[in-house]
Amino acid sequence: MKESFLEKAARRMDIPAEVAANVPKVIIHGYREIYVENHKGLLEYGPREVHVNGGEAVLKLTGEGFRIRAMTGSELRLEGLIFNIEFIY
């Protein structure tokens, strides 16, 4: 996948990409909680599989017992046992 101009500029200037280029920021707490910032919405949501729209890529989570703990326009907090995290470009 081609790196965007803003991503490239942010990398050169040592600015966090999620701030400058609005790319998703994913934080995993242990094995049971995942936090996604700058998401563009949910594409699919189920207890075993969740697809999160990240803009230029889709974040595909597989696991068990997924549940949305909280969600706003830019932040998403999911809980459930995480098996696999995959980026689909």
């Binding site: 919405g41 949501y45 207890p47 549940r67 949305i68 969600m71 706003t72 326009g73």
Partner: protein, 403 residues
């Protein structure tokens, strides 16, 4: 904290059925509808919790997506209160209660007195009652300056008083008057005389003419330092005599106590009576007002109905407990009687000792008699015996006559 806020504001557990529940989630997120605990139940169904105020908007989104929304469970203060919407009597009672609290808070229903040791609390409250500050008086009637002016005039034992009104309770704080020592003005001619008989051990005459010397024995009231000084120029000169006179003094105290005494033996029978006091008026909750037993102790306990630290209702519950006893004659043990007498005499001796004085020797002798035990305390003390006494005209005339 967030849970408490949510409970206060109210939240709804909703079930949404639509072709794409993810779209419903996205719509909520974009339109700032906070939701939590979202569970996918089936292919077309989703359950989540949203704030109560967002329910109409969420419902509109569900309809827009070709689905439907149902409220499964509603929780929070708002929904709890809504249950009482049609319970008019309850609401009226609540409003009346609030009104009663509000009105009642403007009146004083309870008094507490603090800071008094010798002046009884009843006397202070009676003085306040006489000037119109009593149970049921409006809190606005409390004028501290007026109270101070009037109550201090009525009660000589007080030097200061204030009334702090907190809610419907009034705390009366007093300071008692300290007896002023006998001090004559510097320009008043004063003699120094002996407060009690003794043997002078030291005399420091700061002003005046010493009339006695160490080793002299003096009687009570004897002149120790004279305020009249002979002068070769002006005859007799009058001064304010000042002196520290220390003497050895001997004290003899006697006490007596009967050996036989009557005590109480409780039978175990007890009767309780209750009464209510409404704003000072007592309502007995019993019929028979007589004493339940021929011989009994009566203990009264008054409990005011209070809310927190500041508010008290004008209602108090009085509990009177009558405990029956039988009189039992018993013989006081001699050692116990002696111990009682020794303590009593020792306290009296120390109470009569001048400030800074010390007890050199203290002997107690007991004399058992028929039915009594008497004791004699003999003590030798070292203490100041000087007391000022105003020079009378007779003293001056007597001195002139002598000279």
């Amino acid at each position: 904290m967030q849970k408490a806020v949510n409970l206060l504001r109210g939240f709804v557990r909703i079930g949404v059925e639509c072709p794409y529940p993810e779209r419903f989630i996205n719509l909520c997120a974009v339109h700032h509808i906070a939701f939590w605990g979202a569970d996918r139940i089936g292919e077309l169904r989703l359950e989540a919790t949203i704030p109560a105020r967002c329910l109409p908007q969420a419902e509109a989104f569900a309809v827009k997506l070709g689905g439907s929304l149902t409220a499964i469970k509603q929780r929070g203060a708002l929904f709890f209160l809504e249950r009482f919407k049609r319970r008019y009597v309850l609401i009226t009672g609540l409003l009346l209660c609030i009104a009663a609290l509000f009105i009642s808070n403007r009146y004083i229903w309870e008094f507490t007195v603090e800071g008094n040791k010798t002046v009884p609390s009843e006397a202070i409250l009676e003085a306040l009652r006489e000037i119109g500050i009593k149970t049921g008086s409006p809190a606005s009637a409390v004028d501290i300056v007026d109270i101070r002016n009037k109550v201090l005039m009525k009660l000589d034992g007080l030097s200061w008083i204030t009334v702090n009104v907190s809610g419907s309770r009034a705390a009366v704080v007093v300071r008692e008057r300290v007896a002023k020592p006998l001090i004559y003005p510097r320009n008043t001619p004063v003699n120094i005389v002996a407060a009690k008989p003794g043997l002078i051990t030291r005399i420091d005459a700061l002003a005046g003419a010493a009339q006695v010397f160490p080793g002299d024995t003096v009687r009570k009231g004897q002149l120790l330092v004279s305020g009249l000084i002979d002068s070769s120029q002006v005859g007799v000169r009058l001064v304010n005599a000042r002196a520290d006179v220390t003497a050895r003094t001997w004290t003899e105290l006697k006490a007596i106590t009967p050996v036989g005494a009557v005590g109480k033996r409780y039978t175990g029978r007890e009767t309780k009576r209750y009464a209510l006091v409404f704003a000072g008026s007592r309502v007995n909750l019993y019929r028979n007002t007589g004493q339940p037993y021929a011989m009994c102790d009566k203990i009264s306990k008054t409990q005011s109905l209070r809310v927190g630290g500041g508010f008290s209702f004008p209602v108090a519950l009085v509990t009177e407990t009558f405990t029956e006893y039988e009189p039992v004659a018993y013989q006081l043990d001699e050692s116990v009687a002696e111990s009682l007498l020794r303590r009593e005499l020792s306290q009296t001796l120390r109470g009569g000792l001048a400030a800074g004085g010390e007890i050199l020797t203290e002997t107690v002798t007991f004399h058992p008699e028929t039915g009594f035990v008497s004791a004699t305390l003999t003590a030798e003390c070292l203490e100041r015996i000087d007391v000022p006494r105003k020079v009378e005209i007779g003293d001056v005339l007597a001195r002139r006559g002598d000279s």
